[in-house]
Every structure is written in C-alpha cells, then in structure tokens.
Amino acid sequence: MTLLSDLRQALGNENVLEEPLELYIYSKDASLMRGEATFVVFPQSAEQVATVVQIAASHNVPIVARGAGTGLTAGASPTEGGIVMVTTALNSLEIDSDNRTAWVGAGVINLDLSTAAAPFGLHFAPDPSSQSACTIGGNVANNSGGAHTLAEGSTTSHVLGLEVVLADGEIVVLGGQAPDSPGLDVKGLIVGSEGTLGIVTRALVRLLPIEPEVRTLLLDFPTVEEAVATVTEIIAAGMIPAALELMDQRMTTAVEKWLHAGLPIDAAAVLLAEVVGERESVESEASQIGEIGRANGARDVQVATTEEHRALLWKGRKSAFGAMAQLAPDYYLHDAVVPRTKLVETMRAIYEIADRYELTLLNVFHAGDGNVHPLIAFDASEPGINERVHKAGDEIVSACLRVGGALSGEHGIGLEKRDLMRMAFTEIDLDAQARLKEVFDPTGLFNPKKVLPDGSRCFDFGGVRREVPEGAWV
C-alpha cells in the first residue's frame, strides 16, 4: 500500500489533501521559512492521530503537527517534507467549573476557551498576541506566553495534564487533576517541545477567575529609555502588574494607521500597563504607576475609562505584528529575554545594531518580563538583504545573551532560531537534550531538524550511533 492509500483508508478521502496548491498553502506557518508537505491530513480523533503516526512510521515519513499556523519560528513548516497533521478537528471542550479546569482539544482556539469559560467567571491566562487565532495545541508545543505572562506565567504553569500520542502510536495521559503528580514531570517535558517528542491531542488546563477590577493605562514617553526605566521602577516598587507592554514610535504609527484608536504617534514610546484585583488595590497601583511614569518623564497618563477603550488598546498591541505589513512585505523577529535591569542598555544596543546594518527595526514587547521583540521590516526580494537581516538578528541575540538573557521567551525555537541554540547552550547541554529526544522519538520522525541544531548529539557523525558505553561521561 502506498502512503496516500493508507492515509485515505484511515481518515477518508476528504481528510487527506494532495493537490500541489493545497500542499503549498500548508507549506509554511507565520514565519518566513517554507517547507514542502508530502500530504496534509485532518485526523478527527486521538485514535486517528495514533493511526497516522503508525502509518508514517511504517513508511518512514516525518510528521509535522500544526494548529492554526500562527507560529513565528517555522515550528509548523514541513521543512523536511512529510505529513502535515492539522489538529483543528480535535476541538472537544469540557469545562469543569467546580475544579476550575478544562479538558481542551489541541485544535481549540485559545480565545474560544476563555470565551467558553467566561460564563463560569473563569478564563485561560496565557494570552499570546495571536490568541484570537492560535490553538491550545500550539500553545502547549511552544510554551506560549503573552502580555499577561508577567503575573501569571506561561502555558506550562497552566497545564495540569496532557493526552499525547507517542512515536509507537500509543496514546498516553500524563499528569492529571492533582496539582503535583508523583514521579518525574514528563508532562513538563512535552510542554514546549514543539512537536518533536509526541503529538498532543488534548490538554487539561487550569482556569483562573476573571479579576473583579481591571485598570489599563497608556503612558507616553519622549524617549524609549524613559519608558524602560519606568518598567524597571514599577517592578522594583514591589508591584507585579498583570501586564507591562512597550511599543516604540514606528510600531505605534503602523498600528494607529489601521486602528484609529487615538494612540500618541508623536511619542518615542508608549507603555501599556494593566493592573487587576480588588478595587482598592487596583486604584492605588494604577495611581502609583502613573506617578512613577511621570517622575520618569511620561508626558501623559491615560486610563481606559470603558471596556471598549480597554479592548481597543489591547487590540492595537495584539495586532502589532500584522501591522508590520504596512512597512514591508516581510519581517524577521526575535523574542529573547533579558533581565529587566538590563533593558535600557539592551534596547540601545538593539537599535544600534539595526542602524549599523541599515535596517528598519521596530520594537513591541513584553517589557515587564524583559521579553524583547525586535522586529526587522524588510523586503526579501531585495538582493543580499536576507543575509544582513540574519546577521543583525544574530548580533541582537548575542547582545541579549551577553547581559544574561535567554534565547526565547515564548515563541519557541523551531527552525529560525535553531542554530542560535549553540550560543545559549554548551555541547553537553545539547547532547543531553538530543538524548532525551531519542528516548521519545528513536526514529526521529516527529518534526525533524527542529529545535536542536544538527550535530547536537556528541560524536554525532552523520547519524552513526556513538560507540561509547552507556553512562559514560562525555
């Protein structure tokens, strides 16, 4: 039997795509890198996912899982060919309001979960900017964060259990309702593994109560440094706001052109701050933030007076990447994390690097947790520009790592940042990770060549298994 006939038999003809144009449409996610899908499949259940995994194994074909395709690092681009497994039909949703948890299919859209939980006074805390489109499966795969990660943590803090299809087609449930499962935290390994260890079909997630009061402030500054200094001082004052987001002037201008929200486009930087909780604490924190901002040079402090106004401000922030299209057809993005106290010097270094490479760079980022998002706007059809963009990107990452930062805050590594892993990890670190991958995926068919750079395995000579006794220290 051919791969195609096996897939068709297992899923039905309508759930297997093979036309070149259809495959092209599934050949990339929201990143810049395009792959080439062999087939695209739409499993309707965890059992069908397991069957596809077995079929792929018997034909020795890779599998790349994909939710909504909003990933920014080519994690869902089939760059080594193979089957693109789309999880959108895995859309079951069972809310357990008493336990404040939900079993959620991998294909459920992040915001749909919060919308469904709202009547119970609950919501799902991780809120990536793509939350209106991205899926829970993708959030788990990338350990996604978002504007509210500052106070609530990223996806891993909200996953209690996972249903996962392993490389041999077995369906296992890891973790569960208990807050701390005994034994090793295998579920924790799967979160953030970007489809390289198994395919997540359902997740048991924690839901948090909707906060009684919310205040959203917009502060505008004559310089980026003053905005960043404000962030550092707010945290140093002992507050942990729900969110602290920064947008620079170019970004604000692009967003405003589309949104017409009255954003101050003459400000060098705007800071979006949100505080939540009981009325009294919210009001006192909001006024404290305003005072710190003014003391650091804020020209104006706006407080959203209505829910509509608040929603509009967030819409502006969350649509920023898409607004990049107004400047250039392509953008390249990093999401390194630096210690908050190093934000001022890091921002200065990032702008300097872009200037030196003569590139248009914009910033919009989670300032509160030091998670920078420098975006380079460019036109990939311009000769030689790709190289310049990537060189500048490497320098930016290296500047972030030099001050004690991390390679990625929330977008994952995928393929776009894979080779930068060497900057962040030693050979021994990478070897340990590669060995872990081998345990889960001995034949290497789950999202191959993603996350870990080639040769991560020590003594990895062209795929020959190394001749070192088990347990030897290398």
């Binding site: 859209i109 915001l111 793509s130």
Partner: protein, 411 residues
C-alpha cells in the same frame, strides 16, 4: 504570464499579507471547516502561488477561491490593511478568463440577466404569479432559498427609476434603484425616497443608470462590471450624494475607483441609505420618536458592517423609531446568502443560514431588521413565517406613519 486580466491580484497587494493569521477566526468558511485552504490567508497564499508561477491556475485554484463567501469579515481585523475583497474579485475575473466552461448559467444570470431590466421584470412577473398560485415549491431545488425567501410581490409599488422629487435644501441625492432591489424590494426604494425627501433632499433616480455591477464583479464577470460602473459613473457623477438601498450595492459603489477611471467621483460621495437616514436623524431633519415599540433583532449585512464599517447607523435608525435593538451576533458572521452562494455552495450556505436563524430565534424577538436584500431573503427562508423581516428604514418609516396617524386620530 500567470495572470491574464487587468483586474488580477497584484504583487503589491499580495505583499501586504504577512500571514499573521488574525483573519482566520473571523472567517466563516474557516470556522466551518478548520482548513487553511478555506481561510483568507490560505486564499491569498493560493493567489501568491499563481502570481509566482508555482502552480497553474486550474480547477483546484477555482475551487478554493469559489468557496469564499466574499463577506470581507477579514478586512476590518487585518492590521496589514490587505484589500482582500478587491483581490478576490480579481482572482475570480482570472478564473472566468482562464478556466474553461465555468458555470454558464451563473455567468448569464450575473453578467446579463439580473442587470437587465426587461429580464428582471419578466422574472418578477413570473414569481408574483407563482406566489399567488402557491407554486413556488416547484422552483428548482437550487434556487429554493432565493425563491422561498423572496417577498410577496403582488401589489408592489411601481419602480423608482425615473423618479424626481423633493425640495433639495439638503442637497440632491442620486438614487441607485438597483437590479434585484428595483424588482423585488421596491418598498425599500419607496421608503428611501419618502425619507430622503422628508429630510430635505431632492431625490432623482436617473433613467440612465444600471445595476451597480456588484454581482458581476463578485463572480469574476469583470468586463460587465467595468461596463456597468462606467454607465453609472456617467449617470451619477453630478450628484452631491449617491445613495444605494442595498448594502451590497453601496459597498460596491464605494469601491468604484477600482472599476472605472472616474469611479472615485461617484465612490467618494456614495453612502448606504442607512447612513443618509441616520445623518438626517442626527441633524434633526428627521424626527426621533419617543413611543416605545418593543424589541427589534438586528442582523448586520457583511457588506455594511465589514466592508463599510457601518454598524451604528442602522441601530440609531431603529432607536429613533422607538425600538430597543437586540443584538444577535457579536462577531457578525455571514448568513450564507452572499449573492448566489446559496445556489453554488448549498451545503455551507445552509450551515450558515441555520446558524444565523438559531441566533435570531434565541433572542425570542420575532421582528428583524436587515439592510440587504440577499440577507433578508436568506433569513426569511430559514426562519418561520411568524418572523417579520424588513429594512431598518422600512421599520422607521412605518413607525413615523403610525405616529402621524395616531396624532391625527387623537386630535
């Protein structure tokens, strides 16, 4: 060369999409299927593949593009300002030019028959007769939603074409009578004339006008769409304001710049009737009534809300009539009417039609306002007979008349 027409999606337009995916959740066909190939981003990728010559323009491309409703819900959420509706029309024009044997009947309907006054008049006569004799059930299954959703035509008022009247101190309005609107929705046009004249406008519906060309453009009949736009630019270029009474028509007029060199002249002054009437109410040229009239469910036509960003105006009109407006669909998904979509993609259209009908039923309100003929017919065909569906300006005019008569009796 991969594209062959002047209307093709351009590389500049395609470059405006960075594939962020924010359009996916608002796209009704993506929501129905969960498939990228049925999403705006996927369709733009398909156009890019043609543009760069990676795949030939064939039936697969046509299938992907034809599944689109053209509701343009993706446009207001797009931070990259991708002109999706324009590109869709361009892609359809290419399909009609390049893919042989594409649905001849549809071509005839949208390219020639609907815009032709004599064919439409004959069709309306036949429908009126069929309605009187209760024979509409005999209509071909393909058209059952359209035939079944049509208004009762017997005793309808005369055509508005050729009408001239009103004082004009508030400016002269050129009224686009429309093709379907002029035969099947004459009461809407008559209500528009009455209200605009009450509001101090002079209203003229020039005889030199034709169908706006929206149906042809949506279906890729670009040559006809260009021709109709040119005719209407000639007929309407000297008016202060151009008003259309169907949301699909007013949205198309607003985009005339794409269809005729002088199209902007008309496009810039075109508004939907709901905008013109709401303005008059706001300026005090039409009254806001105090008598409460109960609840009214509202349905937002895609080409009013998504394509033109008009949401407040129909609500203001209904409120001025004394109604308490009840929302039915926060995100305003398409009802599945979408021109002739119900005949071309009956399955998806039915799913959306049922979804919309359920949303309206769940409000418990049986009076419904809809500002577009296609939507109105779709709603009527999916809702029970006790639902009263009319254009917001008809509800408003009826309230005015009632108030006036009430006033006379009490004197």
């Amino acid at each position: 060369m991969t594209w062959v027409t002047v209307d093709r999606p351009t590389s500049e337009e395609l470059d405006a999409c960075v594939q962020c995916g924010l359009c996916l959740p608002v796209c009704p066909t993506f929501r129905l299927t969960g498939r990228e190939t049925a999403s705006p981003r996927g369709r733009l990728q398909a156009m890019s593949a043609i543009d760069s010559g990676i795949v030939p323009l064939d039936e697969t491309f046509a299938g992907i593009i034809d599944f689109c409703l053209g509701c343009r819900a993706c446009e207001p959420v797009c931070p990259g300002l991708v002109p999706y509706g324009r590109m869709l029309e361009g892609a359809r024009a290419e399909i009609v030019s390049q893919v042989p044997g594409r649905k001849r009947l549809r071509k005839w309907l949208q390219g020639s028959a609907i815009p032709s006054r004599s064919v439409m008049r004959a069709g309306a006569g036949l429908l009126s007769l069929a309605q009187s004799l209760r024979l509409t059930g005999l209509a071909p299954k393909k058209y059952e939603r359209i035939i079944g959703g049509a208004r009762r035509l017997r005793g309808r008022p005369g055509s508005s074409i050729g009408h001239v009247g009103g004082s004009g101190e508030a400016g002269t309005v050129g009224l686009l009578s429309g093709c379907i609107q002029d035969q099947w929705f004459r009461p809407v046009n008559q209500a528009a004339i009455k209200l605009l004249e009450m509001a101090g406008h002079r209203v003229e519906a020039p005889s030199a006008q034709t169908c706006c060309g929206a149906l042809a453009a949506h279906d890729g009949r670009a040559a006809e769409a260009h021709r109709m736009a040119a005719t209407n630019v000639g007929a309407f270029r000297d008016y202060d304001i151009v008003v259309a009474t169907g949301a699909g028509c007013s949205a198309h007029l607003a985009g005339y710049g794409h269809w005729d060199d002088d199209g902007e002249i008309v496009g810039e002054v075109s508004v939907d009737i709901t905008v013109a009437v709401a303005r008059a109410i706001e300026d005090g040229r039409l009254p806001a009534l105090d008598t409460p009239r109960g609840e009214m469910a509202i349905q937002d036509p895609c080409h009013l809300r998504h394509a033109q960003g008009v949401t407040l105006e129909p609500r203001r009109i209904l409120e001025a009539a004394g109604y308490k407006v009840v929302e039915t669909d926060e995100v305003a998904f398409c009802c599945g009417a979408a021109g002739l979509y119900s005949t071309l993609q009956p399955e998806a259209s039915a799913q959306l039609g049922n979804q919309k009908a359920d949303q309206i039923r769940s409000t418990g309100v049986t009076r419904v306002a809809s500002a577009n003929p296609g939507c109105e017919m779709q709603l009527r065909s999916y809702l029970e007979d006790n639902y009263e569906i009319a254009h917001p300006i008809e509800w408003y005019l009826a309230a005015l008349v009632e108030e006036l008569e009430g006033g006379i009796t009490s004197e």
